[in-house]
Structure formats: structure tokens, C-alpha cells
Amino acid sequence: MIRRTLTIAAFLMAFGAAHAGVLPDDRTDVLYHLYDGGGVEIDGPSVLVRKKVGKSLSFVGNYYVDMVSSASIDVITTASPYTEERKQWSLGMDYLRGNTTMSVNYTVSEESDFDGETVSFSVSQDMFGDLTTLTLSYALGDDLVRRSDDPTFEQPLDRQIYGVGLTQILTKNLISSLNVETVTEEGYLNNPYRSVRYFDAGSALGYSFEPELYPNTRTSNAVGVRMRYFLPYRAAVEGEYRFFTDTWDVEGHTASISYIHPWRDFTFTGKLRYHDQTGAHFYRDVFSRSQATNFRGRDKELSPLTSYTFKLQAAYEFLSDDGNDTWGFIKRAKVTASLNMLSVDYHDFSDLSVGEVLGSEPLYQLDANVIQVFFSFFY
């Protein structure tokens, strides 16, 4: 059940690099990713191939795998550790005509208990002497949620994503972007395996569990602003802020600052990211009784939390596009390694794994390392 979060990320990959007046570079990326934290280990490859055909068409394909081994706090509290695999394929096309780029992308995702399909479209237009790029995008997702322990269980989930992006050159050293994104979902939104807990005087620990029950609609709005500035020496600094709000009363503020420093054939990047959010209106760490409210959830991602991320990245360009040396049709190549250290403080989610009685459990805290190593070839 790693699933639907990737749809929006795939949406970003489909259109994130869209440039209106020019097609994206031909490239192949081969990436290995590893997430390790909170009893969960997820790793796998991601391969992207992009190639122009003629002067106005570019095709892109991506294959992505998550191999999951989970003994997370949710799993060890109310279920058994498990392993699973998730695969995703996507195919897209960009068509350039004048200053306009039109893109279409199709993504399929498969898990043992989840299937997802997404079709997305976008149009980008360069304006004002190519200082401004406006992008309008739309995606339609059609998912199916199942249960691994109940073959008769099958529930649909539909999703629509509307996006408006504006990239603006402000000065000869400063570029900025503004993104507005609305996501509407309707269908089975809760996790079929997760439980909430409620006071139960008859239980040894003082509480018992029952299945969670979410509303079947959710609409969210996000507005993000980025600015990247070329420093007086050859280096760049970037600031980003995102405000998020949704109909479940989750409100989030995310801010980050990055520094990018090239040195010889290397490029080093450091980034600090901060995220703070309120909890969903139906979230409780413990409910007063069984079926206490119409909707109920105990998903730690929907609880009030603060997260901090520190990123270090180094890229080495081992083949430069200087005309001196090429590997056949490959003009440029680089290898990149990055480490994201993620730390999440949950303000209202108790750690039940310690087995303490109700009221004396400590709050849960998560530390995770996210490693990526990837080769990029440009041709």
C-alpha cells in the first residue's frame, strides 16, 4: 500500500521538466533508490529514457520499482511484517509547435492489492520574449483498492489533478516559479489494513482497536513559490515555500533552502527542508469509545507533525560535452549520489510498540535515510 502517492510524483516527472519553446534534452537515467527508516526498507530501480524524433516530437518512458520490506510502527502494532513489490510504467510524448509544447502521459501502477492508471495532459506556452512560461496541466487517475486477505474486497478511487505553473525570469541572475495544484479524490481513501484505537477499560493496556473509516472525498490545494539566484561567483542559491490546505483540515507549511556549488567536474548540493502540518479533523491518537465519530483515522501522516530534511548531493561529470571526447552517440554523462536524512516529530501519535499502558506511551519519532545513486547519459 505505497501506491497513490506516486501518482502525483509521476505527474511531476511527466511535466516538471517541460520547457515551452524547446523540447527536453535526449537522455537516459538509471537510478537506484533506497529508503531505510522506521522499520521500513524500500529499494529498487528507476529507468527513464527520453528521445526526440524529428524536430517537434519527444518521447519519454519510465520504469520504476519499489521493493518493500515493512515492519513499520503501524504494522508491528496491529498486523504482521510483510514484503511486497510495486511496479510502475509510464509513457509520454511532447509535441512542440512554435512557442507551445503539448504533452500527454500515461502511467500504470501495479501492486498485489492495488492497481492505478493515470492519464495526464499539459500545455506550455512561452511568452514575453521567452521570459515567461505558462503551463496548464490536468490528470485523471483511476485506481482500484483491494485487500490481500480478502479476494472479494475491491473498491474504486478516482482522482483529478489540476495544475497551473508560471516560470518567470526576473533578472539576468534570478529565475522564479509559481505552482498552483488542486487534487480532488473520490472513492475509497482509507487504508484497508489500518486501525484506530479507543478507550477500553476491559483491556489490559486500557485500549482496543477497530478499523479506520475515512470520508470518501478529499480536495486539496497547494501553492508553491521558488526562486533560484546566481551568486556573484559561479554558484546558486534557491529558496522555496509551499502552502497546503485540504478539506480534511490538514494545513501545511513547507520551506527549504538549497546551495549549489560547482567545482571542476563536480557539482555539490546542500539542502535544508522544513515541513509543519496540522492533523486531519477525524484524526485521534485514541478515541473516547468504539465508533465515537462518523469518520476516524489514526494515520500518522495525517497527524500534526514537523519534519526536517537535510540533503547532501554530489554529481561528477565524467564525460563533458566539450567536443574533445565522446562515447559514440553519447555526448555527456554524469553520476550522482545523494543522501536525504529525514527526521519526523509526531506531536500526537503515541509509540505503542513499547507496550506501555494507556497514558504513559511516549510520542513516536521517525528517522530515515534516503539514498539515491544514478547515472545520466545525454545524447
Partner: protein, 80 residues
Amino acid sequence: MNGKLLIAARILLPLLVVGTLSGCGGIEPWVKPYERDKLADPIMALDGDPVSTAYIQHVFEAREGARGGEGAAGGGCGCN
């Protein structure tokens, strides 16, 4: 209060869009193409590694309740 803001936005936004677009012909690019060498440097690319960006967005969306609006928007440096 929110209702008044919404009404004002509904009136002002189309006026702003129409006003902006009607002025398109008269806007001179204030950063000339020959002044965009720094913006064309790879270190100024808003999304130089789309596979890596999509992956880390996925991680944040899985670990936090918020989604969307982060990362790169469409658009380049206008250097082509």
C-alpha cells in the same frame, strides 16, 4: 469576509488576465537573450534531474499529509 474576497477575486482576476494579455504586444523583454548566459548554466536548472525529483517527492508525499505545489514548474531560461 471570505465571500467578499471571493467576489472581488472573481471580478479582478479576469480583468487582470485581460489587461495583462492585451498588453502583450507592448512588453519588451527586460532581460535580453545575450544577457541569459548565467540562467543557461546547468546549476540554474529548476529541475535538472527529473527522475530523482519525482522519487523524493514520492517519499515526502508518503511521509507527510501534504502534496503537490512543490518542485519544478514548467519553463526554462528562455535561452533557446
